[in-house]
């Protein structure tokens, strides 16, 4: 990846004579932020979360909290359950037959799987952007206006609302002259930003992103990454990515998952190995599996 720049500022500890450990990956192209060691304030939290598909346990015993106005990245090899976990954070997993969540996932301390909780409302408050850009077969305008319309949001002026959402997704200047044209005429990167704008339009608090850049070229990827960093001011973002450099570039905190293989059945179940500030994960991981993965020894 050519976009790496060396920023020694993130590893300054040479004043007291100690040698800083050599960074595994240079992180944080964007200005580093001072963040508390533990997520705070917490917007979502997983406690003893196990996710099953029928009898098969896809994710085992996840305990982690997601901080408000931060980008949290979930990384790990294929089949480690990170996408499964992400989908269960806004109950999109309900749509998969036989999927079942045990333990508790809370949003502002309220369990989202509680009996009195409406999954529709959960999904409105916790939005999701998918791997492949999936605009609706409608005009650009209608793609954005769809969410507010169907969720019964009170919108004073839909035109302004659409413009606002497109501006926040850094797409307004490119599409303002063709709002009535089909969203299918946009490029892949524009379509993905449209999907982000569409999610923003229903004003969620949390945005889940499932490998949002995996179908995009490097330039489009970099624009989406810049956008995510901007959106962090107003939203909490949880992103699954296969791209470690991406996590290193944009995430405030990173969780590393791995797949345990059952010796008898050969089934793989995902497990959270390490969860820390991104700088620590990439420069000073405490678990050797994390280090091995980050150095590219497996995964």
């Amino acid at each position: 990846m050519a976009t790496f720049t060396t920023k020694p500022s993130t590893t300054q500890s040479s004043q007291n004579g100690e040698r800083a450990p050599a960074p595994l990956l240079h992180t944080l192209e964007h200005a580093p932020r001072t963040l508390p060691a533990y997520p705070s304030p917490v917007v979502m939290e997983c406690s003893d979360v196990n996710i099953y598909y029928g009898d098969f346990r896809a994710v085992t015993d996840v305990n982690m909290a997601f901080a408000k106005n931060e980008i949290t990245a979930l990384i790990g090899p294929s089949g480690c359950g990170k996408s499964t976990l992400l989908r269960s954070l806004n109950r999109m997993n309900d749509l998969i037959p036989q999927a079942r969540v045990e333990g508790s996932i809370t949003f502002h301390s309220k369990g989202i799987y509680d009996d009195d909780v409406d999954p529709i409302e959960v999904r409105r408050r916790i939005g999701m952007v998918f791997q492949k850009p999936n605009p609706f077969p409608k005009s650009i305008y209608d793609n954005i206006a769809y969410g507010p319309r169907v969720t019964g949001m009170k919108v004073d002026n839909m035109d302004d609302h659409v413009e606002q959402a497109l501006r926040r997704a850094a797409l307004w200047l490119e599409v303002r002259d063709k709002l009535k044209q089909s969203a299918y005429g946009l490029s892949g990167g524009q379509q993905q930003r449209l999907c982000i704008a569409r999610t923003i339009a229903v004003e969620p608090e949390v945005i889940l992103m499932d490998e949002p850049c995996s179908a995009l070229d490097p330039i489009a990827t970099s624009r989406i990454e810049d956008l995510m960093v901007e959106l962090r001011e107003n939203y909490s973002i949880i992103i699954v990515t296969h791209n470690m450099q991406q996590a290193a570039r944009i995430a405030d905190r990173t969780a590393f998952f791995t797949a345990d293989v059952d010796v008898v059945t050969g089934e793989r179940t995902g497990r959270l190995v390490e969860y820390d500030l991104t700088t620590n994960i990439f420069q000073n991981p405490s678990d050797e599996r994390t280090e091995a993965y980050i150095q590219g020894r497996f995964g």
Partner: protein, 299 residues
């Protein structure tokens, strides 16, 4: 020095050894052509024969005159044309909403793991292959049971609606299944309810396919005589049908009746009516193809 172009022998593309021209392949190709020729030839013969027989009667009298037992030279298909319009319109009103609703339920809401849903699915596929006359018998029995007149537009439409219902259900299911899952997920992730998602995303995206299937089904109903004959469809109608409870005849019944009369003039008018009906079917199928091409899926 040998020029490089000579030194490296160019690949001989002509000498490739796949056997497109082997006797076996050619024989197979000829067999395919023959099969096609038989189909096209028999249709052509039928059309030409009907045209030669009926051309003298292809005039406005065919459209405006009632049929006549006394003056076969002046017999026209007015009542049959109006009867066909009445019956097919009523059939469309009965069968299309029902078929779309049933197809949507089976595809979007029914749990296909349940034995009863599987039973329904299998049976619908079987129903599409049931001989048309059986639907006539069913309707006759139904009419008898509730004390309804058999020889009216409504009875005929019920029989034809039952006949094409499976076809519409199957067409609906296939068009709905062709709508990408990403569209549904995109809608649900914005906080739309499953019902809203079906109503505003899935169904509109599937409409072109449903329309094509429905028109083809209706054109089958238009050409169907057997169930209506069983219901005792009238053959000498010399009044315009004027409602659902009105007696009626349709083009296929009229043709069937004329063709079974000994007089030469009836044979001729039957041929003219055949041309008329084939023309109508051609127009309906052309519209179906037009819709399919115009709105071909854009994903």
């Amino acid at each position: 020095m040998i020029p490089i172009a000579e030194a490296v022998a160019p690949p001989n593309l002509k000498a490739a050894t796949h056997s497109d021209r082997s006797p076996g392949s050619i024989a197979f190709l000829v067999a395919l052509w023959l099969a096609l020729a038989i189909a096209v030839l028999s249709l052509t013969v039928l059309l030409v024969d009907a045209f030669i027989d009926g051309q003298s009667r292809l005039d406005s009298g065919l459209l405006t005159n009632y049929t006549s037992q006394v003056f076969p030279e002046q017999a026209g298909a007015r009542a049959a044309i109006l009867g066909s319009i009445w019956v097919i319109s009523t059939t469309a009103v009965l069968a299309i909403p029902l078929g779309i609703a049933a197809g949507l339920y089976l595809e979007e809401f029914a749990d296909s793991e349940r034995w009863y849903n599987r039973l329904i699915e299998t049976n619908i596929s079987n129903l599409a292959a049931v001989p048309a006359i059986v639907y006539g018998m069913l309707t006759a029995g139904f009419a008898l049971a509730i004390g309804m007149e058999r020889r009216i537009v409504l009875s005929g439409a019920i029989a034809l609606a039952l006949l094409i219902l499976p076809v519409i259900i199957i067409a609906t299911r296939e068009s709905v299944r062709a709508v990408p899952q990403e569209i549904r997920h995109g809608s649900l992730a914005l906080g739309a309810t499953p019902l809203t998602t079906v109503w505003r995303q899935t169904l509109p995206a599937a409409i072109p396919g449903i329309a094509t299937g429905s028109i083809l089904a209706l054109s089958r109903a238009l050409g169907e005589a057997a169930p209506l004959l069983l219901l005792g469809g009238l053959v000498f109608v010399n009044y315009d049908p004027n409602g659902l409870m009105s007696g009626f005849t349709t083009l296929p019944i009229q043709i069937f009746n004329w063709a079974s009369q000994p007089q030469e003039a009836f044979q001729q008018v039957a041929s003219a009516a055949i041309i008329l009906m084939l023309g109508l079917l051609l127009v309906m199928n052309a519209v179906a193809i037009l819709i399919r091409n115009r709105y071909q899926s854009r994903w």
